[in-house]
């Protein structure tokens, strides 16, 4: 979707605000939100792409206004409701509705280290022939899907060179919508900065993005 989250190349979003000796979490609620998102994700009812897309669905003006962990909290509540783990009535009342308690096995403290260490690999072993070889010139397709995509707007329609073949990866555009993993070849594509941004860009510079085969045409 062409949302405000797709920010690459936009102007007017302010100065970069740095904080010396920034703590990992600024407040207790940020830390609890972070942990709730990870603990809830461990049920496996949604995936990282669905989680990202849920945050992209936050209306643009709110997305720009909200802090990072407010967006995480907003996304989490929607995923909990969509997954029927909680109801909107429960979110309002903060109490379990009579008869709705679901006894999912909660993630236990003793499982946390192994969960983090394992992670969730996104490569798949299915044999998918590579359409593009290293050094191939490719054009990012002019796609404007209304759902989730990882093809940034600034790259669409532009030509670059394949500089790496990362093998076969889960396709976020389908996975985010629970339409299956549809694994595809993933390539690193290098775009000259001048190709993306015009003559004002430094001719030496480049921007590389990791792009799925379905995002690309030969050029």
């Amino acid at each position: 979707m062409n949302g405000v989250h797709d920010m690459g190349g936009m102007d007017g979003l302010g100065a970069i605000a740095r904080e010396e000796n920034e703590p990992v979490f600024h407040t207790r609620w940020e830390a609890r939100t972070f942990a709730l998102v990870l603990a809830s994700g461990a049920w496996g009812l949604w995936n990282i792409d669905a989680s990202r897309h849920q945050r992209e669905l936050i209306p643009g003006p709110d997305y720009l206004r909200m802090s990072y962990y407010e967006k995480w909290l907003a996304g989490l509540v929607e995923l909990l409701v969509k997954s029927k783990l909680v109801t909107r009535a429960e979110i309002v009342s903060d109490r379990p509705e009579r008869g709705t308690a679901i006894a999912r096995p909660a993630l236990l403290a003793g499982q946390v280290a192994a969960l983090l260490d394992r992670g969730t690999p996104f490569t798949r072993t299915v044999e998918v022939p590579a359409r593009f070889a290293l050094g191939s010139r490719v054009r990012a397709r002019n796609l404007h899907p209304t759902g989730h995509t990882r093809l940034p707007r600034y790259a669409r329609g532009h030509t670059g060179v394949v500089t790496a073949d990362h093998g076969v990866h889960v396709f976020p555009d389908s996975n985010a919508h629970f339409l299956g993993e549809q694994p595809q070849r993933l390539y690193c594509v290098r775009f000259a900065a001048a190709e993306l941004w015009g003559d004002s860009a430094d001719p030496r510079d480049s921007v590389s993005a990791d792009l799925w085969e379905g995002y690309l045409d030969g050029a």
């Binding site: 690459g8 970069i16 904080e19 909200m66 909290l73 509540v77 979110i91 909660a106």
Partner: protein
């Protein structure tokens, strides 16, 4: 916040917008605990892992090893995920890693324009500026301006390579080893490696 919390919406397009996050999170945690969905001790363990165990000191060890061990550096640049795992780091939000190396003529800069992808096992959780709209929007179109804002003026002739983390491949920059550090051991070198240098906004 002065914003309606969105309570009472129940159509599919509804979007929950927390008005007072501190209160809302507390209430949500209580609800999930009451429903048996969350164990508060697991939340403590998750927070503890990123507050104390998983952070940029891990990445600094990887960089220092690369600086002192050419065979390790070669492995790191060829298969970063495995080479980083040799030091015991990997997993969540670093399942697939790529390492890029600064040289006197090449400077690398990492961003995630679409969200906030960052290599957690080696750098921990990202600082706010990395996740912010100003950095995400400008790093790709004006990397040299962004670097200047961070106090880094590149020599003329240096090529800037920006890496936009659009897939589940997380990037770590190996900065140049500082001059005059030939006598330092790996552990001492690791102390010189900053988080910002491993993102590429510092040297």
């Amino acid at each position: 916040m002065g914003h309606d919390s969105g309570h009472g919406h129940d159509d599919d397009a509804a979007q929950y917008l927390p008005s007072e996050p501190a209160l809302r999170v507390k209430a949500l945690e209580s609800l999930l605990v009451a429903k048996g969905l969350v164990d508060p001790a697991a939340l403590d363990a998750l927070i503890d892992a990123y507050a104390h165990r998983i952070g940029p000191r891990n990445g600094a060890r990887v960089v220092a090893r690369a600086w002192t061990n050419p065979a390790y550096k070669a492995r790191l640049l060829r298969d970063a995920t495995s080479a980083i795992r040799e030091l015991g780091f990997g997993g969540r939000a670093g399942e697939h890693m790529r390492v890029v190396e600064n040289t006197p003529s090449i400077h690398n800069l990492v961003v995630c324009t679409l969200c906030s992808c960052y290599p957690w096992p080696v750098l921990g959780l990202p600082p706010n500026w990395y996740k912010s709209a100003p950095y995400r929007s400008r790093a790709v179109i004006d990397p040299r301006g962004v670097l200047r804002e961070f106090g880094l003026e590149l020599e003329p002739g240096v090529e800037v390579r920006v890496w936009d983390s659009t897939a589940e491949l997380r990037y770590l920059v190996v900065p140049e080893r500082p001059a005059g550090t030939e006598s330092l051991a790996e552990a001492e070198l690791a102390k010189l490696v900053t988080r910002d240098a491993m993102i590429g906004v510092a040297r």
